[in-house]
C-alpha cells in the first residue's frame, strides 16, 4: 500500500470523490423522495451539489465571540475523518483498501468524530442555540452509541473477529448475518441507532429547527457549512455502508439470473435501500424530546441489541 495508492484510495475511489458524489446523490434522492411523499414536486436529485456549490461561493464568516481556531478546524476534521472510514470499509471487494486486525473499533471511533466535531463547533460558536444544541447532541450520542456498539459487537462475536473483512468473508459463505434469527434483533437495533446517528427525525433533536434554529451548526455559513453538509451526507452513506457490510453481506458479487452483478453495484443498491428506509421513517413520525429519545434508546433498542449479544455468546 504505497503512498500513491493511498492518495488515490483516499482522494478518488473509495474516498472523497466517490463517497462525496454518492453521498450527495443519496442526499438528493432522499430529498426528492421526501418531496414526493409529501405530495409536492421536490427538488432535482442533484440539488445537494447545487446547495454545496452555492455555499462555497458565499463569504466565510467566523463570529467574533467564537474561538476561531476550533470553529474553523471542526468542519475540516469532520470531513477528513468521515472520508478516512471509506478506506476501512469494503466497497468494491471484500477486502477494504486498508485492512488490519481490529479495524471495526477504528471505524466506530471514526464514525463518532464528525459528531464530536459538530459539538465542538457548537460550543466554540458561543451562541446560546449552539451550546444547547451541542449539549443535546452529547446526550443523544450516549443514547444511540450504546445501542450501536452492542449491535456491532454481536455481529463481531458471531463471526469471532473484529475485522470487517472477516465478517464479509464469513457472510459470503454462510449468507447474511441479518437473516440469522439470533442476529436479527441486532440488525434492527443497528438500524434504529443509525436513525439517531444520522440525526434524522424522530431523532434530529440536536438540530431541532423550531426550537434551537440549527443546533450546533447555527453560526456556520458559507464554506464551513458546506464542509459540514458534505461530511453529513458522507456520514449517512458511511453508516449505511457499515451496516450493509456487517449485516447484509457487504459488496459480494453474485449473478442474478445470468447477469453478473459486480460487488460495488450490489453494495450501492443495499446502501440505497437502507437510506430509503431512513427516509421513510423520517416522513412518518414527529421529533421526540431528548428525554424520550434516550428512554427509547436505553430501553427498547438496547434490549434488542442485548438479546442478540447474549444469544451469540
Amino acid at each position: 500500500m504505497n503512498s500513491l495508492d493511498f492518495l488515490f484510495a483516499y482522494f478518488v475511489f473509495p474516498g472523497l470523490l466517490f463517497a462525496g458524489v454518492v453521498g450527495l446523490l443519496l442526499g438528493g434522492i432522499d430529498r426528492k423522495l421526501t418531496g414526493r411523499m409529501q405530495n409536492r414536486v421536490g427538488p432535482p436529485i442533484w440539488q445537494e451539489f447545487l446547495d454545496v456549490g452555492k455555499l462555497f461561493s458565499k463569504e466565510d464568516i467566523t463570529p467574533s465571540a467564537a474561538q476561531g481556531l476550533i470553529f474553523t478546524a471542526a468542519p475540516l476534521v469532520a470531513l477528513g475523518s468521515i472520508v478516512a472510514i471509506f478506506l476501512l470499509l469494503p466497497v468494491n471487494s471484500p477486502r477494504p483498501a486498508l485492512s488490519s486486525v481490529a479495524d471495526l473499533i477504528v471505524i466506530i471511533y471514526l464514525l463518532n468524530i464528525p459528531a464530536i466535531c459538530a459539538m465542538l463547533g457548537g460550543y466554540s460558536s458561543a451562541c446560546p442555540f449552539g451550546v444547547v444544541g451541542s449539549g443535546r447532541y452529547i446526550a443523544q450520542l450516549l443514547g444511540y452509541e450504546l445501542v450501536f456498539i452492542l449491535a456491532v459487537l454481536a455481529a463481531a462475536l458471531r463471526v469471532g473477529s473484529l475485522s470487517v473483512a472477516d465478517v464479509v468473508a464469513y457472510q459470503a459463505g454462510k449468507g447474511w448475518l441479518a437473516l440469522q434469527p439470533r442476529l436479527l434483533p441486532a440488525a434492527v437495533a443497528a438500524i434504529l441507532a443509525a436513525q439517531g446517528k444520522v440525526l434524522r427525525v424522530p431523532f434530529d433533536i440536536p438540530e431541532a429547527e423550531t426550537e434551537i434554529v440549527h443546533g450546533p451548526l447555527t453560526e456556520y455559513s458559507g464554506p464551513k457549512l458546506a464542509l459540514f453538509r458534505i461530511a453529513y451526507d458522507i456520514e449517512v452513506f458511511a453508516v449505511a455502508a457499515l451496516i450493509v457490510a456487517l449485516f447484509f453481506g457487504g459488496p459480494v458479487a453474485h449473478t442474478l439470473d445470468g447477469i453478473y452483478v459486480p460487488g460495488v453495484v450490489s453494495f450501492l443498491i443495499k446502501c440505497f435501500a437502507l437510506v430509503l428506509l431512513t427516509t421513510c421513517v423520517r416522513n412518518i413520525c414527529a421529533r421526540l424530546r431528548i428525554d424520550q429519545a434516550l428512554k427509547f434508546f436505553w430501553t427498547f433498542a438496547a434490549l434488542l441489541a442485548f438479546i442478540s449479544l447474549v444469544s451469540v455468546l
Partner: protein, 108 residues
C-alpha cells in the same frame, strides 16, 4: 403501524399536488381582483373612484383628468371598479406586479 404510512406511500405514486409555476400556470377565477385597468374612453372623469379608494391610490391626471392608479398603494379591493358609474375601471387577472422602478408601478 403508524396511520400515516399508507398515505405517505400512496403519495409516492400519486402526482404532486404542486405545479412548476411559472412554467405551468393556473387560470385565476372569473371574479379575481388583479391589476385595475382604466378604459379612458368610457371614463367621464367624475372622480368617484378617487373618493371611494380606501388607500388614496387613485389620482386624476392634471391635464387629461383621467384616473391614474398607483399600484404600490393599491390594495386590490375592487371598490373603484364597483363605484364607477360607467364601469370604466375593471379588475384584470394580472397579478404578477413586481417592479424594479417604483415610478413605473402605475396603471394608466
Amino acid at each position: 403501524m403508524p396511520r400515516i404510512l399508507p398515505t405517505v406511500l400512496k403519495n409516492l405514486f400519486r402526482g404532486p399536488a404542486t405545479i412548476k409555476y411559472p412554467r405551468e400556470r393556473v387560470e385565476p377565477p372569473e371574479r379575481f381582483r388583479g391589476k385595475p385597468v382604466v378604459d379612458k374612453e368610457m371614463c367621464i372623469s367624475c372622480g368617484l373612484c378617487v373618493r371611494a379608494c380606501p388607500n388614496d391610490a387613485i389620482s386624476l391626471d392634471e391635464n387629461t383628468k383621467k384616473p391614474r392608479i398607483w399600484l404600490a398603494r393599491c390594495i386590490f379591493c375592487g371598490r373603484c371598479a364597483e363605484v364607477c358609474p360607467r364601469k370604466a375601471i375593471k379588475m384584470t387577472k394580472e397579478f404578477e406586479l413586481a417592479f424594479y422602478d417604483k415610478s413605473k408601478a402605475v396603471s394608466e
